[in-house]
Symmetry: C2
Subunit: 569 residues, 2 copies
Amino acid sequence: MSQHIVVIGGVALGPKAACRFKRLEPGSTVTMIDQSSLISYGGCGIPYYVSGDVSDAVQLSQTTFHMTRDPKFFKEVKGVDVQILTKATRIDREKKLVEVENVQTGEKGTISYDKLVIATGASPRHLGLPGEDLEGVNYVCNPADAIRIRESISKGDVGKAVIIGAGFIGLEMAEAYADMWGVETSVVEIADQIMPRLVSPVLATMGQKHMEENGVDFYFGETVKSIEGEDGKVTRVITSKRTLDADAVIVSAGVVPMSDIAKDAGLKVHERGGVYVDEFMRTNDPDIYAGGDCCIVKNLITKGDAFLPLGSMANRQGRIIGNNLAGGDSKFDGVVGSFVVKMFETSLAGTGLTLEAAKAAGFDAISVLLIQLDRAHFYPTKDLMTLEMVVEKGTRRVLGVQGFGSSGDAMVGRINAVAAALKSDPVVEDISNMELAYSPPFAAAMDILNALANLADNALRNINRGVSPDGFKELWDNRESGQCYFVDCRELPDAEPFLEKNPEYWHNIPQGEIYNRIKEIPEDKTVVLVCNTGARSYEAQIMLDEKGIKDVVNIHGGMAAIKKYGVDI
Amino acid sequence: MSQHIVVIGGVALGPKAACRFKRLEPGSTVTMIDQSSLISYGGCGIPYYVSGDVSDAVQLSQTTFHMTRDPKFFKEVKGVDVQILTKATRIDREKKLVEVENVQTGEKGTISYDKLVIATGASPRHLGLPGEDLEGVNYVCNPADAIRIRESISKGDVGKAVIIGAGFIGLEMAEAYADMWGVETSVVEIADQIMPRLVSPVLATMGQKHMEENGVDFYFGETVKSIEGEDGKVTRVITSKRTLDADAVIVSAGVVPMSDIAKDAGLKVHERGGVYVDEFMRTNDPDIYAGGDCCIVKNLITKGDAFLPLGSMANRQGRIIGNNLAGGDSKFDGVVGSFVVKMFETSLAGTGLTLEAAKAAGFDAISVLLIQLDRAHFYPTKDLMTLEMVVEKGTRRVLGVQGFGSSGDAMVGRINAVAAALKSDPVVEDISNMELAYSPPFAAAMDILNALANLADNALRNINRGVSPDGFKELWDNRESGQCYFVDCRELPDAEPFLEKNPEYWHNIPQGEIYNRIKEIPEDKTVVLVCNTGARSYEAQIMLDEKGIKDVVNIHGGMAAIKKYGVDI
């Protein structure tokens, strides 16, 4: 039985679904339509084209082996018919046809289908600001944007850039402007941290600090009121608190699913956009599938709706749709929400829920923060990694792990391992015993992920009672109240610079001497224990516990985390 | 209730169990005994000390923050009593005491215990060869070995080294000799590949080839008959096939668990050594625990016995024993068998079963091999990675994944993600949809792991019918028989050098032209399709299928894998 499949949208999911289907049913036909002339490009590569890491924009539209994925390629190599510059204007589910319009000629027509795939993607959120259409104001959407943005930089027209939004694309574009091109770059974000909702304030601050050290300025808790210009060209951005000069503006305030055509056809759509699909990626019309950035999937941890517009999702879902178009029963269960973003020499990554998201979803959760070397401490390429684990009290269920680390593959590898485990509702012990491959050049004997779960275990058992560097900052900022007694439990040479700088507040009792010097510790104050990364302060806390001194806080992540977080001691 | 815990063995599991227990029950006492004077060292770091990556041997016995883990450290910082140079000679389970002997003075004594931990570790397998005790012949066991080995190299005494055994330690030591010190290094291995039983012959050959390019010679299928010397110093190694000059010999023929003391005490021990423990790491005596290199654990895939002597296992199990000594009920379910080994600029890693191991365990399994870039193809730091997946037919269960890749963290991260998934008996689809974090600097939109599972899916569906480079080699070596018609389905410029070199046997039909040029393909021969990595040859195979040409083999991994494997075309 030969079928005719119509695919609306030719960027990521569309081509994947089309080609997979064609390989399974070479005798059937597929028509893929797209309103643009550019199809099947890697939009996620745009910041790396702007930065210069990718030399030619055409690479974003090529296969691994340098064949350009244009309509001719799809026809000859994949057997898929492509109609570019063709906009789908309406789906007639009764007659099973798609009404189309050529965006250049205005010519109208219809294409009938046996089965239909909606792969309309998402579009950048427009803020409706005065001045959004000035020259130099850009969204980051397709290769044409990329070429325009890079051209203006390379011509020397851009001395100052303002990025609106500190999510994935905002941070990647900030790096692109500041790193290779040395553009003075500012980021304006309505929330009070980078990567809001995706990482904790502590991890966000570590990432922000690294970006600031690389010349990017941040303005948090500010909204953009308008964009102004002269002679049709942008010159400044007016926020709720200040005016920023700008020769270039990037609006990266998130994306919204393009699901109007589905909604108009009576398909089930989320109130804020996004087509609902079942586990087979099928809409409520059994002959219509949807996937990629235009659809809503299930969050496997909260069991609620998730919108996760990533090229990786589109590819995996596209294959599933291809299978099912050919009579298969492949399933897409849902997502745990894995991500990674590179920021100069560092990265932020995560999977599952942050503490904030966990609480919002109704979990009674805590989080713990660990900083540790990413491989054997004696191996020369070792580097510190900071991970945070979110766990549910009572059930001890692991809800998520996020981290701040180098820009290498070490951290994302750990995050991926947790993501794999998250699909089976792991408890803390599952991560404590996770079998990460061990060899000194790649891991510590007790890998940081195992140690992170062990810390969570100790926190849940209440035998490790500590706070993260943000908690330390609060205590330290309030040091003049005299409520806290700060004890550096490292050896004297490590503590000395801090003793000298803060003779009144900083004290040193190496952990091994605690029992002998227990009388130095005042009984009427909260004892704040600090060491290098939190291991010795934990041991010290246990020793004080044993001696009946219970009003003790040890600083998770120790001086290493305090330094990355940026507390002035 | 205060307890007295005795721990026999002070290297990896012993200290971990002792310290964890002390943190949970600071009021109890722990006595840890070891027959050596060196305790708590990272033996896995020895090759990196020999190579010079680790500058000082004392680093192997230090904490992350440079405190040496000697008896004083354990007493002051951890509250654990240590008796070095003290050998446990017998366990009296009735009286609950350990008979000990001072290895220097011969003085005997007993130590009574409430609970006992056997952490006796493993020792290098002695081959019983004539000449094993010559100067210059070394095992790789403890820091004293390490210092002796490096001293002899740094004094300039070693021009040629012979390594016996091509497992983890053998390969690491071969790199240590050859890389930094430029020693002429040979490896003799009784099996016919490196890393026998741990990776497939194809992956092993890729790794071997890289080591050979770095100056290491291999002799497979040879046994060492004797080691000979002059004036008490080694000068040569006699194998079953040749004589190799040697100023230094490393015997790295595996390790054997040291479980005699447990066996003599009537504890349940494997016939080839290794203490049996339950999921709580308890022996058949409820007051005696065992863990680390001296014990047998469960293989979670075969459900059979496993011996996995790794420092990482010792650490994880040590914590579990510590918990359980303090009245806990922590469990160690078993292992999937993850590993990684660095070899110059590359690494081999894996988890679960190889095809050979799967078949030996009774699984009706196949394996597929994929070579693909480890991140977005347009991102500058991209690199090829080769992965092999072993799956059970019928159930579609994933039994293992092994790989050959760069020495960075990209491959081990994928292996760890699979290891995490393996604990939940995944099927192919679980890896196809595995949610690896995506961003161009870290992954492709369809990550290599997803693509690997997709390939396994296609092979199980029998729509991708191919062989790995070893299969290609067989076909190519037999080309003069005329049974095969080799078609390079890349564009002409890629195929041209091979056409010129093999005008008689090599043909070129770009995949996109297959339908138009179908008549060029002979009907009476097996068509062998080759492209860059196997993607286009797969498409071509489907096109030929569609036209009724079924006697087709496409080469998994394509020219990229053929090159890494080393076939002369």
